[in-house]
Each structure stands twice: as structure tokens, then as C-alpha cells.
Symmetry: C2
């Protein structure tokens, strides 16, 4: 066990769910625990019921016979102080407060209630996650706040002020085969704040990459110090909510956070060696690159596999993202010429494969030479769907074999676009085979992107991280 206050809290032996019910959203958090397979006792608390989702229900926390490590509260704020007194009496270690309508309302009485809640918790030795948040997703421990969250664990830790953001990131990442060690939504950060969670993930050996969604900092100085220390060990990717005037206003009513100016924030993040992203999609794109390609040594990039228009645009997009699309190395050209390639003087980087039309062997040969060449730091494989094949003549393994020599040699990312169904006659098959192709690339350990822009922007952030870490 890690020597950090959150370690014990994230590994509870038993959980009480206050405000549980047989109906409504997750039965007030009971059914997500069942779905996720929580191993310890689950105690629903609701005086109106004898049983909830197959568990004996209790009137209050103090009625529970055994010990209770972790309490989830979804009762109204008006009843929160009584619950806290019960939790203190029961020696509960941590309360996760889904309960909201505290300081985020902007009202004095609600803010005062929040303060009193914290005072009683501290006095009684109870720690708080939240309030106004979805709490903990910890697949290995069987903890989840929604049904149907992935059962699989992975190397990514996530801490977010918004629970909706956690739900969205976890679900969108799963589609790309990226899984989480733990993900925590912490709302108003009344007790544990961004610093505590970051400190925990910095130490957690199960977490190799840290993702954060932060609206405001409770302790900027400590955060900066922790961030510097953490980024020297593992990448930290941060999405800031409330970057402008209106966003800052919105953070106040969402999680009672005071967001700061965009420029100050960006410069702080950079100085601390962390990676800043603009939205959830980019957050996942960058995480996918770090997860699959821990290190990219430079910006010199080879692109191959697209056709004419897409190759031109790939070059533009890579350069605009900050990659360097160098000329095709002279010795590759000479090798092609010596081998009698009819396009040795015409093909370039990006390698436009419509030029090699109908000359599959030649195209693959060029791809292999590019992937193996030491002048390239990164290979972007522009994988085309099997346009000219059908269900009857398509062989998945054969289609994928062509890529094997490419991906084994250097950091590589795959671009496989989401093609609209109406582009092919056999619509269902095309969707299905595209999913299979993406799955195979995932199995090969490659990050897969829907566009060159996304791939290039993500790769540049990984290059940047390593440049700063070296410096």
C-alpha cells in the first residue's frame, strides 16, 4: 500500500450509499457498484425501504452493524450536517458528496453550510471527496459511478472537477482501448483538492500518465511545485475549464472555482513541463500517443499511404502542427532507382500512393524504406479502407500484413478516417471491417486517429514533453 491518505480511501472494504433508492439514476449510486463488481458489503441507506437492489437497507449510517469505510451521499444539502455527525460517530474514513447546491450557487447561506460541513468533517477525522461531484471510478476495486463503465484497468489516471467530463473521457477512451487506473471527479474541492489528487497519482505505480480537468486551483503554489515534480517522472496532460471571461463566469456557478487568465495559465503549465490541451478530444488524442509511444525523439516525420489531395493536406497539417515533413532522403530515392522503380524521381514525402496506383508492391517497398530510415523520428501511416474490396474477397490478416514491417521499426501512428457509410454500397460490412482494422492496429500497439491533424497535434505534444523533460 502506498503511503498517501488517498490510498486507503480508494481501497474501501465497505461502502454505504446514503439516499439509495430502488429507482432513479443508478439507484443513487448502488447499481454502478453492483455492475462494476464491488467485492465488499454495500449498505443502501434510506429509511423508506427494507431492501434496495437486493441489499438490506438501513435507516441511517449508525444503524449499520459492521464497519463502513466509504460513504456516498446523494441526499439534499439540507440533511448533510446530520449525515456528517453520523459518519463521525461511525468512524467513516471518507464521504463522497454527490450532494450539491453549496458554494457553487453563489449564495452566502450555502457557502456557510459548506464551511460548517468541512469543520465537522475535520474535527471528526472524516475526509471528503466533493461536494458536487460524481466521485470515484476505480475499476480494480469495483468502484464506479455509472453503469457500463469499462471493467478493464489501464495505466491512465484521471482527476477532474467535472463528473460529466470523467464519464465522457472514460467512455471515449475505451473505444480507443485506453483504460484507467483510477478516475476521480472532485467538484468543489472542499477537502481534498487538485494538489492531493495529483500528489497521489504522482506516487501511484499503477498510473503512468496523468490527465486533469481543472476549473480553478485551490492552492496554486503547491500545485505548481507538485506539477514540476510529477512531470519529471510521468506526463501530466491538463485541460483547463474557464480560460476566458465567460468560461470563468461559468466555473463559478459550476464548481465555485475562480479561474485565472488563459496566458498566465498556459505559461505556468509550460514552465512546469506539463502538456496543455484545448478540449476533451485533444486530451484523449494526446493520452493515446503517450500510452502507445512513450517517446518520440524529434519532429522529422514520414507520411505515407494517402492519395493526392489527402497527401497535400497531410503535409500542410503536419507542418502547421509543428512537425517537420522533410524531403524524401536521397538514399531512398537511389535505392528505388537501383531497384528499377518507375516513380523513384516522382514520389516524395508525404508518399502519395495514388502515384503508385496499381503498383502495390512498389508502394509497400517505399513505405518500408521510409519506416526504416534513420532520418525520420516518426512515421504516420495513412491507412486507407479497403475501397475496392468486398465482403467476399477481403482477408483481414492479409490486409494487415502489409503494415507489419512498417510499425515494428520506429514510433508510428495510424490515421484511419471515419468514412461515412454512404460512400460504399455494402454499408454494414464496411463499418464492421473498419472496426476490425482499427482493432488490429490497436493490437499492434499503435495509436489510431481519425485525421492527420489529430495525429500530428498529439505527436507534437509528446515531442514537446520530452524536449522539456530533457531540458
Amino acid at each position: 500500500m502506498l503511503n498517501h491518505p488517498l490510498e486507503e480511501i480508494l481501497h474501501p472494504g465497505s461502502i454505504a450509499v446514503v439516499g439509495a433508492s430502488p429507482t432513479g439514476r443508478g439507484g443513487g449510486f448502488v447499481t454502478p457498484l453492483i455492475d462494476q463488481g464491488f467485492k465488499g458489503p454495500i449498505y443502501p441507506i434510506n429509511p423508506k425501504y427494507d431492501e434496495i437492489h437486493g441489499f438490506k437497507a438501513y435507516g441511517r449510517v449508525t444503524d449499520i452493524p459492521g464497519p463502513v469505510d466509504f460513504v456516498i451521499s446523494s441526499i439534499p444539502a439540507t440533511a448533510i450536517l446530520d449525515l456528517m455527525d453520523d459518519c463521525v460517530a461511525k468512524k467513516v474514513k471518507c464521504v463522497h458528496l454527490f450532494t450539491a447546491r453549496f458554494s457553487e450557487t453563489g449564495r452566502k447561506d450555502a457557502a456557510d453550510l459548506e464551511k460548517e460541513l468541512l469543520r465537522r468533517a475535520h474535527a471528526g477525522n472524516v475526509r471528503l471527496i466533493g461536494p458536487n461531484c460524481m466521485g470515484v471510478y476505480h475499476p480494480k476495486q469495483g468502484m464506479a459511478f455509472n453503469e457500463n463503465m469499462p471493467k478493464q484497468s489501464g495505466p491512465v489516471g484521471l482527476v477532474s472537477q467535472s463528473g460529466q467530463v470523467v464519464g465522457e473521457i472514460v467512455a471515449r477512451s475505451a473505444v480507443r482501448r485506453i483504460f484507467f487506473s483510477k478516475a476521480i471527479s472532485y467538484g468543489n474541492a472542499l477537502d481534498f483538492n487538485e494538489c492531493d489528487y495529483l500528489e497521489y497519482f504522482a506516487q501511484d505505480p499503477e498510473t503512468k500518465i496523468v490527465l486533469m480537468y481543472v476549473e480553478g486551483l485551490r492552492d496554486g503554489q503547491r500545485f505548481t511545485k507538485l506539477l514540476k515534480e510529477t512531470t519529471a517522472k510521468k506526463p501530466v496532460i491538463i485541460l483547463k475549464g474557464g480560460r476566458g471571461k465567460a468560461g470563468t463566469r461559468a466555473t463559478a456557478s459550476h464548481t465555485a472555482s475562480m479561474a485565472g487568465s488563459r496566458l498566465l495559465w498556459e505559461s505556468m503549465i509550460r514552465q512546469c513541463g506539463a502538456v496543455s490541451v484545448a478540449d476533451i478530444d485533444e486530451l484523449i488524442d494526446v493520452a493515446a500517443c503517450f500510452e502507445r509511444i512513450p517517446k518520440i525523439a524529434g519532429r522529422r516525420t514520414a507520411v505515407a499511404g494517402g492519395s493526392g489531395g489527402s497527401s497535400v493536406q497531410a503535409a500542410d497539417q503536419c507542418e502547421e502542427a509543428g512537425l517537420d515533413i522533410i524531403d524524401l532522403p536521397r538514399d531512398i530515392r537511389e535505392t528505388l532507382k537501383a531497384e528499377g522503380s518507375p516513380i523513384w524521381d516522382w514520389i516524395n514525402n508525404p508518399a502519395d500512393f495514388s502515384i503508385a496506383m496499381g503498383e502495390e508492391e512498389a508502394a509497400l517497398r517505399i513505405m518500408k524504406l521510409m519506416a526504416e530510415h534513420p532520418d525520420f523520428d516518426l512515421f504516420i501511416l495513412f491507412a486507407m479502407p479497403p475501397w475496392r474490396q468486398t465482403k467476399d474477397n477481403f482477408d483481414l490478416d492479409q490486409a494487415m500484413q502489409r503494415y507489419t514491417p512498417v510499425v515494428s521499426t520506429k514510433p508510428a501512428v495510424v490515421v484511419y478516417q471515419d468514412w461515412p457509410r454512404n460512400m460504399t454500397p455494402d454499408k454494414g460490412w464496411f463499418d464492421e471491417v473498419s472496426e476490425q482494422i482499427r482493432g488490429k492496429f490497436h493490437e499492434m500497439g499503435l495509436p489510431v486517429y481519425a485525421s492527420v491533424i489529430q495525429a500530428a497535434r498529439a505527436a507534437v505534444k509528446v515531442v514537446d514533453y520530452w524536449e522539456r523533460r530533457k531540458a
Copy 2:
């Protein structure tokens, strides 16, 4: 009929397909014409066959008994001069050359052949589309270069140096119910160039919005003049291929174009009142906004319907795109207070609907007040999928009714995210109902975007266009 050389060419009475075959890509362009329902005679030309795809095949163009208006050539470049002589003899009006490997190879003999081809065409009064291109998609006339292109016509004209780009734009647009008057891929622009196509679309009454993918200009001065004239009448949205060093290199081998510097290009586009976009996705996003909301008078934007984290990010993203997320107007607050709303002092713009949780009526009331308020120029409706509903209790019409008062009052765009299937238990139903919801929004005449960033960036380009057109 329009008095422009392309008008007659785009309305051929008969088409000969040289290099047609019973197998291979579209039977060398025959099957796309069949699929698209071309009404006139189709003459496959290939001395090896008597019949191709149900049509009598001919050995050469001069063997055809009736008149031939339009010829599609997919034979190798080596045979192109003989074909041109035949076309001249047969008084063909236009040849579309899919045939490639001319100046784009960078080789002198190929460039010389291209010049001789043009000389013979001019001398014989035959016009050329291409070479090295996919040619014409004209749904009303039954002309297409791929099978399964949409049969429906629409108000968008598209001209592109890359055929692949046309195919992709047309297919991706169809998913969003955006259709085309004509779309032309013109490759190396040997005869007709970007100016001729732009001039045609400027005059064409069937075309209300012009999209262009341009790698290089053959006649920059004429283009600038035409662009200024056109943008005073209809929006022109331009995607430039070859914006940087590597992209410029790639345009040379793709369509033998000399691309210019990014900054010069951007400033020229702006001065001419056209809209510049960075990729195909943005091109379609902007086209969708122009097609559904011809005019947006200003930047003051209301956002409603998201939950906490997504509202904060929506505010950031709108501001960063250039929209103005003004404070909730004071009189809306006063109305809410007078009506006894419990969140009158808390709710803001963006209206975070998680604040109104469980108070559906209140949320809809706020949405309506925002949509009707004169201080807003644009309404962004953040539509959430029916998370808490199931196949058994979901009523599509009822779900959509809530939005009716919103969308009838002012320019509105919809954000409906692509949610991953794994977020819901009943996966198939969720995909299906999401498609139905998007379809209903399309029927309501609203542009639908997958993210706030995309919606905001597109709307800003429409605002910009009208600001410059007024100036």
C-alpha cells in the same frame, strides 16, 4: 441556358467512355453513369469488347454513329494524342481526362506531351477538363464519377483540383443533408482552370454557395478579380492545399501546381471577401452553416442545454472561436425571479442545465427566454441525448417538441455529440435514436455539429463573411 462555355459542357446529350471495361473501377467510368441515371446514350470505347455493361462497345470514337458531346478518357497518356485527333474529327465538345502522368510527374517529356495535347484540342475546338482528375458530378444531369454518389441535388457548387477531395466532401456532406448543384474535379487545369469554374458557379443560379479546393492558381490576377465579384453575390469557401513548404512540394507532384505562401494567400482570400478554411471538416461545417443560416448579424451568442463541465468548456471554446458569450440579460433574470424560479440568480449564459436538474419546465423556460431575447444574435442549442430513457419509454416527437419554440426565433445551430456506443446499455437503440434526432434537427432546417468548437468556428466564419460583405 446560361451563357457560359461550361454550361453546355455540363449538360451533354451523349457521353463516350474511352477505356471502358467490363471490370475494374467503375468499368472505367461507365457504371457511375448508369448508377446516377444518365439519360442520353452512353458509348463505351474499347476495341477488345463488343458490349460493356449492357451497351454496345466501339473500337474508337469515330466509329460511334450518333453525335458525341462529352468524352471521358481513362486510357494511358501514351495514347492520348490519337484520341484527341478522333475527338476533333467527331466534333466532341469536351474531353474529361482521368488520364494522368503528365506534367505532375515533373518530367519534361510528359510536360511536352501535355502541351501538344492542349495545342491539338484548341486547334480542333475541343475543351478539356483535367487531365489527372475525376471530372464531373452533376446529379441533375445523371453525371457521376463514383457509384453511390447522392442522387439528390442541392445549392452547393464545388470545384476541386483533387477528385478524392470531391468524393470525400460530397459523401460527408450527404450525411449532413447538404447536397450539390455540380461538383467538378479539375486536376492539372490544362484548359479550363480555377477561374473558369469559379466564373461559372458565380453565374449559375442553381449554386448559392461555392466551395473550392485549390492547390495552385493558373491565373492569380483573374482569380482575385472574379473572387471579389463572386463574394459580393454568394459566399465562396476555399480550402488551400499546399500552404507550407512540404505541402507545396506535394502539390507539384499531385497536380503540377505551384502553391504560394500561406500568409499571402490568407490575406488575398480575406481581401476578396472569401472564407478560408483549414481542412475538409471545417469546409463542410462552414458550408452547413451558410446553407441553413444564410445570415448571422453579430457575435452575441446564447448557449443552453449542456451540463456543468460542458458549459464551462462551451464558453471557452465559443470565446476562443471569436463569439461573444454575453452575460444573461438582466431582464431575463428579472422575469425568472418574478416567475418564482429557484435558480434565477444562479443560472447564467451558458445556461448549465445540470443546475436545473429535475426541473425540466424551468430549463425549457430559460431556453425560450434566451432564444427570444433581442440581445442575442445566435443561439447554440446543446442537445443532450436521451440518457435516461429507453426504447420503451422514448417518444421522438415529444423529445423534439421542447426545441420547437427555440429554433423558430433566431439563427440557431445545434450541437449533438457523437456519443460512443459503450456509454449506454442498449447500444443499437441509442445509435438509431441519435440518428433520428439529428434527422429531426435537419428537418427543422438547423445545422448540426458534433462539438461546440465546430459550431462556433463555423458560425464565426458566417458572421465574418457578412461583416466584410457589408463593408
